[in-house]
């Protein structure tokens, strides 16, 4: 809702909630592993990242250590997801700004990533591939070549987008100096992610509080100081390049054979082969899928760096098979608060640019 003075914005009041589906309430009435499929549906451009934060939080609650191989595969998948999310952002944002062709190129590359996900998880978008204790499936035959082929073409494709946009005078005119906020204001408004890094603050959960073995990967956290829409654009493009680097390292780290989930009888489903030969394994399997498992009482908060910023998951357990409370701190929800401050006094057309570079996914804003 905008209050205008001619073409200038006086106040802005985002009216949200139209996609509210009560995911947090539903989680309280499902066992811990059943709730994974709900997490996919919050930030639908980052379903693997949502799976990851939820599973990391439950694993923290259980005090569970995950095999290295599964951790590296998780890293590879969420970085591919980051690339695909930034591609959708870039394509749709360029479309909003009136540049149609960029969208066609971005979605062409995103399609390749979705094909990779389909091979890994059997699903293109709502993968539910990351599970409590590890992963749903072993990587498919030929995955290495498939991911490598994509990673090899990607840097040249990013150059292509940059050629279309970065020095484009219309693009610069629409974004430079638009949506500026000083870093202190952004911190006060709890903004995280590319928006904060475009203001010169190099805060990234992957570096600050490494999870899933991110400390073993070599990558940079790009920052800018202009804090306008153009800086946010440059940060995201740079992040695609950094993610490509991480994926390449992950491919080398993932061994051909090895464990994809931790062993914890009664919590993690046993291996298929064991169920056919061992009575206990069969009993555990039955119990896990009928009544679930009960983590000890207590609360945990786990944060990961989603493409949009800090994605947090707070879980309170009361020692029963269903969580007492699950809360997701969606970066889109929190970052959207900055919009009224960004657009105040700006032209109405620049509001579109500002909304775009906050990069909101309404499924996550409303949950």
């Amino acid at each position: 809702m905008l209050e205008l003075d001619g073409e200038n914005v006086v106040t802005a009041d985002p009216d949200i909630g139209y996609l509210h589906t009560g995911i947090e309430k539903s989680c309280e009435h499902k066992t811990y592993s059943q709730a994974i499929t709900l997490t996919d549906r919050m930030d639908y451009l980052n379903p693997l990242g949502n799976n990851l934060v939820y599973c990391l939080a439950v694993e923290k609650l259980l005090g569970l250590e995950i095999p290295k191989r599964a951790q590296y595969i998780r890293v590879m998948m969420v970085e591919l997801q980051r690339i695909s999310s930034h591609l959708v952002w870039l394509g749709t944002h360029a479309l909003d700004m009136g540049a149609m062709s960029v969208m066609l190129y971005c979605f062409r590359e995103r399609e390749e990533i979705l094909k990779i996900f389909e091979r890994f998880a059997g699903q293109r978008m709502m993968t539910s591939y990351i599970r409590i204790g590890g992963l749903a499936l072993d990587p498919p035959a030929g995955w290495r070549e498939m991911v490598k082929r994509f990673i090899d073409i990607m840097p040249a494709r990013v150059d292509e987008y940059e050629e279309l946009l970065t020095n484009n005078r219309i693009w610069q005119a629409r974004l430079k100096g638009v949506g500026y906020l000083p870093p202190e204001t952004l911190i006060g408004l709890s903004t995280t992610g590319p928006g904060l890094r475009a203001a010169g603050i190099a805060f990234d959960n992957r570096k600050a509080f490494p999870y899933s073995s991110y400390e073993e990967f070599d990558f940079n956290v790009p920052t800018r100081t202009e804090s306008d829409c153009f800086a946010r654009y440059l940060i995201r493009v740079q992040e695609i390049r950094e993610s490509v680097k991480i994926v390449r390292q992950a491919i080398d780290k993932i061994t051909e054979h090895g464990l994809i989930k931790a062993e914890m009888p009664g919590v993690i489903p046993p291996q298929r082969e064991k169920m056919k030969t061992e009575m206990e394994a069969l009993i555990y399997h039955f119990k896990i899928f009928t009544e679930g498992f009960s983590p000890p009482p207590g609360e945990v908060y786990q944060a990961v760096e989603s493409p949009r910023g800090e994605l947090g998951c707070f879980i309170a357990s009361d020692g029963s098979p269903k969580p007492l409370r699950v809360h997701f701190r969606g970066p889109s929800f929190v970052n959207l608060q900055a919009l009224p401050f960004m657009v105040k006094g700006q032209l109405i057309a620049d509001t579109v640019a500002s909304i775009g570079t906050i990069d909101i996914v309404l499924g996550e804003v409303d949950r």
């Binding site: 949200i16 909630g17 509210h20 009560g22 947090e24 309430k25 539903s26 309280e28 009435h29 923290k60 609650l61 005090g63 911190i187 006060g188 408004l189 709890s190 903004t191 995280t192 603050i201 805060f203 600050a208 509080f209 207590g298 609360e299 945990v300 908060y301 944060a303 800090e310 947090g312 707070f314 309170a316 007492l324 409370r325 809360h327 701190r329 929800f333 929190v334 959207l336 608060q337 409303d366 949950r367």
Partner: protein, 159 residues
């Protein structure tokens, strides 16, 4: 990593106790995370101390959420996740809120970012925040009755 974080968190507790001997009513350690329970009436003052004391320097409020422990009393627990970007440290402040009078001090004067997070808690739990300048429903329609994330609110069927 978590031992260092715990040592740093204990320094925070000591610092808060030195500021006001009643500021910390309980310290909960779970899975390497530290929760500092503060009395209801000292919530905003303790949060201000965490933010403004240069040795604590928790400059960002990352999350506000509520847990309903119905039917025990006081039934609500408000959890505030604080983050210090310069020190790379997280801490959780918690305070109890009674079911008969679900009111707490707003942290909006300290962090404008508390605005929507507290509106969300108000919307879904029905807890009022004193000092919040714009306390309206945020996710649910304005004419909605009830607070759906309360434990005594049914998931399906008649309400």
């Amino acid at each position: 990593m978590s031992e260092l974080a715990n040592a740093n968190a204990h320094a925070v507790v000591e610092r808060l106790r030195a500021w006001n001997s009643e500021a910390v009513s309980q310290v909960v350690e779970h899975r390497g995370e530290t929760t500092i329970v503060v009395p209801h009436k000292l919530l905003r003052a303790a949060a201000r101390q965490c933010k403004e004391d240069p040795e604590l320097n928790f400059n960002m409020l990352t999350d506000v959420t509520c847990v309903d422990r119905f039917p025990t009393e006081p039934r609500y627990e408000l959890n505030y996740q604080l983050l210090s970007i310069p020190r790379l440290l997280r801490i959780r402040l918690r305070t109890a809120v009674s079911g008969e009078q679900p009111v707490a001090d707003s942290l909006m004067p300290l962090w404008p970012g508390a605005n929507w997070m507290e509106r969300e808690v108000f919307d879904l739990f029905g807890i009022r925040f004193e000092g919040h300048t714009d306390l309206r429903r945020i996710l649910l329609p304005d004419d909605f009755q009830g607070a759906p994330l309360r434990r005594d609110y049914p998931t399906e069927g008649p309400r």
